[in-house]
């Protein structure tokens, strides 16, 4: 079948394609960074640091588990970090009245509720998710500043900090466990349910999905409810870990979650990508900041370097698509 004149692709090219196809490339990159850092700075491999890293990346991981749905469905959610902060402060305020379990429930419900509002507005008024969630970012941030008067709330109950923030099950920190559960739950929804299949369909062509009888509106609303719910969960985790509910918590984390999704190789155009890719992306971003911290790189330079990684990842992704 092959053309007599065109040479067969060399093995090097085949390996390059495998590497850049996202199945091997990112895990290898992650391992390489970990190994190199370990050589330069042995403290990286210390149990303490790894446990710390797993707690550090947990909120981002949880947000990414929601964000990836919005991106695959052809949209995005910019409000999640602000919703995280709002859930956190509202939950802590409510906690005084309704107790710890009640407070945690309020946090999750706040996230779900705002997600529902996002989704309903996007679907009812057919407005772009970019604008709706950008507005919601400001609304949620404003609300959390209003209810707290701009000051952090430190009255996080001890058991919450001890059990959730610093607790562990079989040696695994609870925040990391929460992130793992969020990612696995998301992966299950995305890859094994009708809802997940519809998310891909809508991201690929919402007209075609609509024509085929997919309830595009309901699925879209659910996507943003899921994003909000994940933001609420991330709020619970972050509040317990830092022992405070801060109205300005997690600023910029919505952009990091988007960056993680893109770095992982999920197309911003929607319709493709996996939860595993999103996980790799979040892990790379989380690890980089941990590694740079240990190497004593200034936070200014860190911000710059993370930007370089994001842009490089997108270029690599584009090259990969062109190769196919």
């Amino acid at each position: 079948m092959s053309a007599p004149t065109s040479p067969p692709p060399p093995h090097a090219r085949a390996l390059w394609n495998r590497l850049t196809a996202g199945q091997l490339g990112l895990p290898l990159f992650i391992v390489a960074v970990a190994v190199v850092t370990g050589l330069v700075e042995p403290r990286f491999w210390s149990i303490d640091n790894l446990l710390n890293l797993s707690r550090q990346v947990a909120p981002l991981m949880i947000l990414v588990a929601g964000q990836v749905f919005a991106v695959i469905a052809g949209g995005l959610d910019l409000s999640i970090a602000a919703v995280l902060a709002l859930s956190s402060v509202v939950g802590i305020l409510a906690l005084k009245e309704v107790g710890m379990i009640g407070g945690i429930t309020v946090m999750l419900a706040t996230g779900l509720g705002i997600g529902l509002v996002n989704g309903l507005i996007i679907v009812r008024f057919k407005v772009s998710p970019l604008i709706v969630t950008l507005g919601m970012l400001s609304i949620a941030r404003g609300l959390s500043l209003l209810v707290t008067g701009g000051l952090p709330l430190y009255d996080v109950p001890g058991p919450m900090v001890d059990r959730l923030g610093y607790g562990a099950v079989l040696g695994v920190p609870v925040p990391a466990l929460a992130a793992l559960v969020a990612l696995l739950f998301g992966a299950f929804l995305l890859h094994y349910t009708v809802f997940g299949r519809y998310v891909y369909a809508i991201g690929s062509s919402s007209t075609a999905a609509h024509n085929s009888g997919v309830d595009v509106g309901r699925t879209t609303v659910l996507v943003y409810v899921l994003c909000g719910g994940m933001a609420g969960l991330a709020g619970v985790v972050l509040t317990s870990w830092v022992s405070a509910a801060q109205p300005l918590a997690a600023q910029g984390l919505e952009l990091q979650s988007l960056a993680a999704v893109v770095v992982g190789g999920v197309a911003l155009t929607g319709g493709s990508g996996t939860m595993l890719q999103a996980f790799y992306g979040a892990l790379i971003l989380g690890m980089l900041s941990n590694v740079l911290n240990m190497a004593g790189v200034s936070s200014f330079l860190q911000t710059l370097l993370i930007g370089v990684v994001i842009v490089a990842a997108v270029i690599l992704d584009q090259l990969r698509r062109a190769h196919r």
Binding site: M1, S2, A3, P4, T5, S6, Y192, T193, V194, F195, R197, Y200, A201, S204, S205, T207, A208, A209, H210, N211, S212, G213, V214, D215, A267, G271, S272
Partner: protein, 510 residues
């Protein structure tokens, strides 16, 4: 048989080869094109005819082979270079920017300005546009965004765009796929005029009928090579062409069987929606009912009301004896109405998703329990259904965009019938589909009809409508104006007259 280069040969292609990955799209194709001829390049989808055209137009580069323009060997580097050589192409898949106006689209990439920030001389552009559109006898508001045009109008804008280049060689890649008869004859008139002006026309199609309608010569392509080039004469029958095209003996058409009389599945009473202003029809189980009319007659609006996309202003839909108001395709599907939309690329396929997901999109309930899909339950029936539909594919996990148009359409047909609806509404299901795939689709539709499924069939292909349908309604200016029971090709003129609003046609009023 005139394959030797002569003085009026403007394009010579020799031993052209091109591979896409493992697929050898062209395997040594050769062709000559003379000034002032309409040369039909006939081939099924996947035979390499579009690839040949795209190489000549500079979209793809050949792996090997020679191209000569006017006797001079050239190496066409890109589309701009091809344009400078006087080659213009009208694509099968439209390449218009939907949000720009008609005028802006006509000049896209060739704005009358020398550097990027120069002010566009819209006055001069307008004059040139008017001239090109006048050559096409095509009146359209230049300021309208292309998004708002019907597909047929977009097609004519594409042709006008090509004409603006004043080409020596004009390549038309399946331009009639979405045109109705009237627009088609209009386009043919334009093509003939251009040919008489000395333009060399390479007309790519898989419609056998168009060979005699427009061609001076015909080249038949199969498996990446031009198997024969012949002068178009009376002796070259469609049957002979079909044999050349498929490389095998072809049996005569199947005779259709009447379904037993039964209560109507769907009744439409005096429906007004969009451009449809009072149409009535009915479809019974086991019946293939055609709805034929020119662009703008409102038949698409009627179909969209039936499947729940458009809301009727007036009139009644009756489904299985009960009043029926579908609010969305989801609702229509639940009631038992499947839908195969026109515009396969934008409204049909999920381009980046696997064939399997595309096939099962409307039918996931069959493989899911409490919303969870069991891969083990999905795969076997998927492969069985793909085999049944005769889809040619490498892996059911490949994106559907990797399939040819005909095979994509078979998958979409499978999607529409997947949840076993009682009625399937089909808009132009055979547009851009090659002859082999078309015959297979007809076979499937006949078989499903014999099993008791009803079809509402909206096609732009008159011959296919008359030979496939049990009944055909003619639509004109938003109304059903005539009904043909047991139609045959002999009804062609009567049906055409009816859809063009001429009084001499109707056999019976609806």
């Amino acid at each position: 048989m005139s394959d030797l280069p002569s003085a009026d040969t403007v394009l010579t292609v020799a031993d052209l080869r091109k591979a896409f990955g493992a697929t050898q799209a062209l395997a040594g194709a050769a062709l000559t094109l003379k000034a002032g001829e309409a040369h039909v390049l006939l081939g099924e989808n996947g035979s390499g005819k579009s690839t040949l055209a795209k190489i000549v137009a500079g979209i793809h580069r050949a792996d090997t082979g020679d191209i000569a323009i006017g006797g001079v060997r050239v190496r066409i580097v890109d589309a701009r270079h091809a344009r400078e050589l006087g080659i213009a192409i009208v694509f099968q898949e439209l390449s218009l920017a939907p949000d720009l106006s008609v005028a802006d689209n006509l000049f896209l990439g060739r704005e009358q300005a020398a550097f990027p920030f120069a002010v566009i001389d819209r006055g001069r552009e307008r004059l040139a546009c008017d001239e090109a559109l006048a050559r096409l006898d095509f009146a359209i508001d230049l300021a309208r965004p292309v998004r708002a045009l019907a597909i047929a109008e977009k097609q004519l804008v594409e042709v006008a765009k090509a004409l603006l280049q004043k080409p020596r060689i004009l390549i038309l890649d399946e331009p009639t796929a979405t045109l109705s008869e009237r627009e088609k004859s209009h386009l043919f008139a334009v093509v003939r005029r251009l040919r008489d002006e000395g333009v060399a026309i390479l007309y790519i199609t898989h419609h056998l009928r168009e060979v005699a309608e427009i061609g001076d010569r015909v080249s038949v392509m199969r498996d990446g090579v031009v198997v024969t080039t012949r002068d178009v004469t009376k002796a070259l029958t469609e049957h002979r062409l079909l044999e050349l095209l498929t490389g095998r003996q072809v049996a005569a058409e199947v005779v259709r069987s009447r379904p037993p009389p039964a209560a109507a599945l769907l009744e439409v009473h005096d429906l007004a929606v969009g451009q449809c202003r009072g149409a009535s029809l009915n479809v019974g189980p086991g019946e293939i009912v055609g709805l034929y009319g020119v662009v703008g007659c409102g038949r698409e609006d009627l179909a969209r009301a039936v499947v729940g996309i458009a809301r009727p202003l007036r009139g009644r839909l009756v489904w299985r004896g009960r009043d029926f108001r579908p609010r969305s395709p989801t609702g229509a599907r639940k009631a038992g109405i499947g839908y195969l939309p026109a515009d396969r690329k934008d409204a049909g396929i999920l381009a980046v998703r696997p064939v399997r997901e595309n096939l099962n999109l409307a039918n996931l309930a069959a493989f899911a329990w409490a919303g969870v899909i069991a891969p083990a339950r999905e795969r076997p029936p998927t492969l069985a259904r793909l085999a049944e539909l005769g889809v040619r594919f490498r892996s059911s996990e490949d994106p559907i965009a990797a399939l040819s148009g005909g095979n994509q359409q078979k998958v979409l047909f499978g999607r529409a019938v997947g949840p076993a609806p009682a009625l399937i509404v089909m808009e132009d299901p055979t547009a851009g589909v090659d002859m082999g795939a078309k015959l297979e689709l007809y076979r499937h539709i006949r078989r499903w009809a014999e099993d008791g499924f009803g079809f509402l069939w909206l096609s732009s292909d008159l011959v296919e409508t008359l030979s496939l349908c049990h009944r055909v309604y003619a639509m004109y200016a938003g109304r059903t104006v005539a009904e043909f029971t047991d139609p045959s090709l002999a009804d062609e003129n009567a049906l055409l007259a009816a859809v063009l609003g001429r009084a001499d046609g109707p056999r019976s009023a609806a």
